[in-house]
Amino acid sequence: MLKFILPLILLMKFNKEWKVSQVGLFFLSFLISVNCYHNFFLFNSGFSLGMDYISYIMILLSVWIVSLILISSQKIKNLNNFSSSFISTNIFLLLFLMLTFSSMDYLMFYISFEASLIPTLILILGWGYQPERIQAGIYMLFYTLAFSLPLLVSLLIYYFLTGSLVISLGVPLEGENYLYKFWYMSTVLAFLVKLPMFMFHLWLPKAHVEAPIAGSMILAGVLLKLGGYGLIRVLIMFQEMNKSFCWFWVSLGIVGGVYISLMCMRQVDMKSLIAYSSVVHMSLVLCGIMIFSLWGLAGSVILMVGHGLCSSGLFCLANMVYERTGSRSLMVNKGLLAFMPSMGLWWFLLSVSNMASPPSLNLMGEIMLILTVLSWSKISILGISLLSFFSAAYTLYMYSLSQHGIFYNSLYSCCSGKVSEYLSLFLHWLPLNAMIMNSTLLMI
């Protein structure tokens, strides 16, 4: 793992040159993607860091998304809006994310999990646009911190009881009394808030809307997956206890997902719509992880990767429109096919991937998750069908309202799309739609 982390630390030296950092990050993602023919349970291990099937794809996703962030944030470079600090913040964030995904120790995982919040907060507060970003940063910080402090306590108790916090040596806990239930809840809730789950999702629309494009991309692309990844790792400890609570999480995921997708169709703010759609996808991921089947795990990993690319691309698109029209409102940004015709292609491709159409990774993830939840209980068909239907409904709503129709009369003309923007969207779309051909790279 150090062969990836040390070049990343060295890349911080080049924070004054944007192009060097950009190329360097792409080169780093190439170095990591060379490992795609991994055949071992654990590889690249050393210094209590290592790669697993799941952590490999998550690390690749994070490096890829951060490289795309630097392409999409050209405005910061052009206006010289503290661009060197921006690059340093992004590289720090990437460093903590790589440490989180490759840590083989629960405590190391926890420390880097919490540490990744700070560069995100700096991104939101430093480069965000509205004064509401203070409240958004506070919500994100306190939601995550308040629920993850019990996680720290539970990890320390686990260490005290079993003597080791190494993930691979995780001893499943056996016990049924209320104390074990409390222990389970305090561990799992931390990740459920990060994921986010329906009742605790309030921080997500705020943070996504107020964040700059970099913040939105990294939040939607990777930070939500920290919750899913953490759940996968932590449920090793709570295998027995999870069976008693599975019904509640699946119900929360399904019913919450339906409600949030209905909320999506009421939004007037593009970024808010995409943020709520993230909650819908992640609630399906939650169902898949909690059911403990092999297809559930594989489907949730695939959906996490697909959603990371797709939502990040949609945020890029929303930001491109925002940079041109100065508004995120769907009432102003309508009829964009007449306004920016070539961008309509990317709106279409990413929107249909969002609603899980072939040949996207979202489709494969959703098929696997639908089969999983259905195999677990046939009653879930009602909720799952509603979820799938409304997911297509709100995506179509967003696409047709923003693209079709007469464009807003007072819009000033603008550049249809720079090559860097097309490049960033293409690099979002290509893995999303091509990786389904060789999806054994993603599956467990």
Partner: protein
Amino acid sequence: MADGPESVSAIRERAAIKAAIKREYQKQVLNPYRHGSGEGGALFDPALQRFMSMRATQYDFFRPTPKASLLGTLMIVAPILGYGLLLKRDKDQFEKKIRTGQVAYADREFKFY
């Protein structure tokens, strides 16, 4: 169309307000120095801004009333718990059938994947 002298004057007033707003809009949209100011995008519409601010700050004006709490409980908490208990019952019944030997060995797992 007009129902009497009162509504005729009301119609005239509304038409006057609308014409004033249109004149203002035409003035701003046809401003020849718009390119020079460097600010692109849509014209600033205070009504739209008020609407967007209202939607953005909806939660700040939320007051927990008994009706709101009842609505929340009935529409959110009850379906989640109810659906969850339905799922739990289904799983418990299946578990009981397995443990009492009523499920054939070939039928124990999902067959469609």
